[in-house]
Amino acid sequence: MTEISFSELFLEGLQLMGVGMTIVVSFLILLIGVLHLVAAAVRRWAPEEAAPEARPAFPQGTGAVNDRRLTAAITAAIVQYRKRRRT
């Protein structure tokens, strides 16, 4: 490498800081805009009907209880039904 004075390097670093930070911020602000656009476009042209696949915040929570109860109820019903059929 050629000899570079400290002040030159520091100035270059300052420049790099300014340019770099500007780009990072601009890029992410642009991305904010694009994401808003996409969201608007999706809302307009491809809205989900009543959010059929919305994942609940506590997926295993009450659902699990219901599931277990349901299974129990259903299976009990099946057992009953089978008994009746046999008799």
């Binding site: 520091f10 770099g20 930070m21 911020v25 890029f27 992410l28 642009l30 959010a51």
Partner: protein, 377 residues
Amino acid sequence: MEKLLLLWQSTGLANFTWGQALMIGVGGVLIYLAIAKKFEPLLLLPIGFGAILCNTPVAGIGGPDGMIGMIYHVGIETGIFPLLIFMGVGALTDFGALIARPSTLLLGAAAQFGIFATLLGAIALNLIPGFDFSMADAASIAIIGGADGPTAIFLASQLSPDLLGAIAVAAYSYMALVPLIQPPIMRALTSESERQVKMEQLRHVSRLERILFPFSVLVLCVALLPSAAPLMGMLMFGNLLREAGVVDRLSRAAQNEIINVVTIMLGLAVGSKLSAEMFLNVQTLGILLLGALAFCIGTATGVVMGKIMCKVTGGKVNPLIGAAGVSAVPMAARVVNKVGLESDHHNFLLMHAMGPNVAGVIGSAVAAGVLLALVGG
């Protein structure tokens, strides 16, 4: 016996340099931190073990014909390992919180100031005798502030391979130290009432938006910052595998097989850069110092931007979540949650902090692209 002499000359004891012995100790310390302190064990344990193996005298395991040297050549010199890990990170990351509230990208942007301030700091260190960081070195050191292991390894492998060992160790160590480093800064910069700000629940994000997200990022990146395209591309490719819903086999492979296997290899290979001449010098001290600085500044600017957003939105943003903008996913978001709970026991900020947290990953990939474009030429 001539044979015994030959054998003695081939022992480690007869060939040890002090540097090697010390570096084996360093490797041991890294493994201790990984196991006993749970400091990013997935990376630091293999790095530490790699350091021990590569500092074994005579064996040359880290040399051009040694196993770990060859792994380094194939996986890190080429940049392929960090890129594959980034693909896995993409497949593991849920960008939903960011899509629901894009404005949190500002926090991810602000926190990258830690990177650029550290760059200047690295250059300033040259005033002290013994330091001689080139611009490329400074850039590689600065990226530690991105709080993103694979990004740091990728950039360092391209710009300053000699510093790679110290940079990787610093990056992962500080990521593990996030719960210690961040809270004091967060508390010092915010008022009690700011820390109690409650945020609105995030809106639902549709599957289509999740699928379009990788493309939004990618198109911008391709059009404006192609030098970030490898990193950002693999991150978004992984995320698309995850969200597409039609390639679950591949998504699982990226999240498990690939990332696990590559992590082992990457760790061992990074360890090969922990040699005495590269690590046991004052520059490493400088790197460790600058790394801490980078984390602190990034946290601070993130929080300050959070305060600004809080003001502008009339109190709809809790400034604490700005601290998550340094990335270190998901540790920083958890720290935000914890500090928030100290001020209000019912205020769970975790989901709100995930937005800036993943924004920070994108932000530091952008920063890496900028540094590659301007310094790497």
